[in-house]
């Protein structure tokens, strides 16, 4: 009897152990690239591989000297915040309207608004280049802003909708009841309520835009965003200063992650509890 229990105990812990080993290996896989990116950015190796040849900051120096990747980073830091802001504004308007109003074609509208994340960006890139070049709006930084705003509205809207759906309808009703007009209600009641959702949506949109390659590749011209320039550098030659820019970008996005951890994940968690 006791022996049976003992073997059962061992077998159950065996599963748990296997689970932990799997988790460990899985997380190694997930964190492997970023680890080596950071490691090689501080190494002397001209070809980034093992064995290590000693610590150095030379690739960061080269980054500043060349300037190409640095300029691209600045372009990205110009394009992405604007696109994310535009997308958040449009996304909020759409989320509020879809959340509150009933109108013919509501479901169709909601579907079309979310559709850009389901269509491969490659298709959007070719389409937008087709139209923008016809209008003479292609090949500029603002072309990327126009295109990204379209791509980002859907995810921003989705996050804001999560938050708006949690708002009790009585909140708005109370405001109307107390004499606020509708615009005042949106500005003073709905907007403050939606703010965590808007901020989360903005961060998500910013990250998407910052990381987006193929649309920017199609519609951009001489001035490019970071992923496009990284691509051009990558296919031209092996350049370890890519490790350095990767480390910098990771540091930047880590700050965004901190914000997202505080804003987006609670939205999912709250739903679970409900």
């Amino acid at each position: 009897m006791t022996e049976g229990r003992l073997s059962l105990y061992l077998r159950e812990n065996g599963y748990r152990l296997a689970g932990r080993v799997y988790l460990f290996l899985g997380f190694i896989f997930l964190l492997l690239p970023i680890t080596f990116l950071i490691l090689f950015s501080f190494q002397r190796n001209v070809y980034s591989s093992l064995p290590l040849q000693g610590w150095s900051l030379q690739w960061y120096d080269k980054l500043v000297e060349d300037g190409v990747l640095f300029d691209a980073l600045l372009n990205s830091l110009y394009v992405s915040p604007i696109a994310a802001t535009a997308a958040s504004v449009i996304g909020f308007l759409a989320a509020y309207a879809l959340n509150r109003f009933v109108f013919p074609g509501r479901i169709l509208t909601a579907t079309i608004l979310i559709l850009p994340i389901l269509i491969p960006p490659l298709i959007l890139g070719v389409s937008l280049l087709g139209l923008l070049s016809r209008l003479g709006l292609h090949g500029q930084l603002y072309s990327i802003i126009i295109a990204h705003t379209l791509l980002l509205t859907a995810p921003a809207m989705a996050i804001i909708q999560l938050r708006l759906a949690q708002m009790p309808p009585t909140l708005e009703e109370a405001a109307w009841d107390l004499g606020a007009n509708e615009l005042q209600t949106v500005w003073r009641v709905v907007l403050p309520w939606a703010l965590p959702g808007i901020a989360g949506g903005w961060l998500l949109a910013f990250t998407f835009s910052f990381d987006e390659f193929i649309i920017a590749w199609f519609v951009s011209g001489f001035d490019q965003t970071l992923p496009v320039t990284v691509y051009n550098v990558m296919i031209a030659s092996h350049d370890p200063s890519l490790n350095a820019i990767g480390t910098i970008v990771f540091g930047l996005l880590l700050l965004t992650l901190l914000g997202a951890e505080l804003l987006i994940i609670p939205l999912f968690m709250r739903r679970r509890r409900a």
Binding site: G19, P33, L37, Y96, V102, L122, D177, E182, M269
Partner: protein
């Protein structure tokens, strides 16, 4: 009280039009119009390096007349679908077990930390992660150096094959799939699992007969998402897969890479538009299939 005093000014609200106009307007100009124009553009031609608005089916004849022969668009399409489906299968299995590990093997108060770690790669640039994968998987890369140290003399050839493409893609998909599957698993009723266990089911039986059927919706969604993203992705196939990656089908590029390369070398936008239109059609078929599958999963749950 509230019923009588407050009439929600829903349908005659002035805000309805004001709020709907910007999103609908923006989408009409920069989403519907470009997609419609894409189809039209596919029927135009290029003459003397200028796009000419002249109806012609030349692009499509050009594409389909040599679909499986010289330009091999057909093979690229087959390769793309093959890689997308297999990638998604591996990614879902990998992430499903990781999510299970987090749900069942990690104490609840640490689960959030593990989730944050799982999403961590998502917040570093995708293209730079692919660069790192190049360094790790290359013939003289990190992996082969380690394997060499362990006594394996023949280096593994992973870059410039579709296996490399898949590794890049799985790594890209993992954070999102882990979140989807974590939410799925956390919503599986623990009482049902315990009931099955107390009635004599082994862990394996409880897994196959309780946990898997109850996560079918999440699994289907994750799989569909994986296929769509992998099918549309250009970077992993280009950078880790080497553009014309080897698989057992042969050395064919992914269809998405072919579109990109075609535009890059000919700058013939109408022809690129025609190629993209073909891709859209394939996507529509895949979405219909995915929707049917999700629907069936939902019905089986009900």
């Amino acid at each position: 009280m509230t019923d009588s005093s407050v009439i929600p000014p829903s349908n005659r609200s002035p805000l309805k039009l004001t709020f709907l106009a910007p999103p609908v307007g923006y989408y009409a100009i920069f989403f519907i119009a470009p997609l419609a124009f894409l189809v039209v553009l596919g029927f135009w031609i290029v003459r003397d390096y200028q796009i000419v608005a002249e109806f012609s089916v030349g692009n499509y004849i050009d594409i389909f007349s040599q679909f499986f022969s010289r330009s091999r668009f057909g093979w690229a399409l087959v390769q793309s679908i093959y890689v997308a489906v297999t990638t998604s299968v591996f990614a879902v299995i990998f992430c499903y077990f990781l999510a299970m590990g987090i749900v069942f093997c990690v104490p609840e108060r640490y689960q959030r930390l593990f989730l944050v770690l799982a999403i961590l790669p998502f917040w570093s640039s995708y293209i730079l992660r692919l660069f790192a994968w190049q360094l790790i998987l290359a013939q003289k890369g990190v992996l082969n150096y380690v394997l060499g140290g362990l006594g394996l003399d023949d280096p593994l050839i992973i870059t410039n094959t579709q296996i490399g493409t898949r590794i890049g893609l799985i790594h890209y998909l993992a954070p999102i799939l882990i979140i989807i599957l974590y939410i799925t698993l956390i919503n599986v009723n623990r009482n049902l699992i315990e009931a099955a266990r107390e009635l004599g089911a082994t862990r394996l039986q409880a897994f196959w007969r309780v946990i898997v059927p109850l996560s079918r919706l999440g699994l289907t969604f994750a799989f569909g998402f994986g296929v769509i993203v992998s099918f549309g992705d250009v970077l992993s196939g280009m950078l880790v897969g080497g553009g014309i990656g080897q698989s057992w089908l042969g050395s064919y590029p992914l269809y998405s890479n072919m579109i990109m390369a075609d535009y890059n070398s000919y700058t013939n936008l109408p022809r690129t538009a025609a190629l993209a239109t073909v891709m859209v059609l394939i996507m529509v078929v895949m979405l219909v299939v995915a929707y049917r599958m999700a629907d069936r999963a939902r019905q089986r749950l009900a």
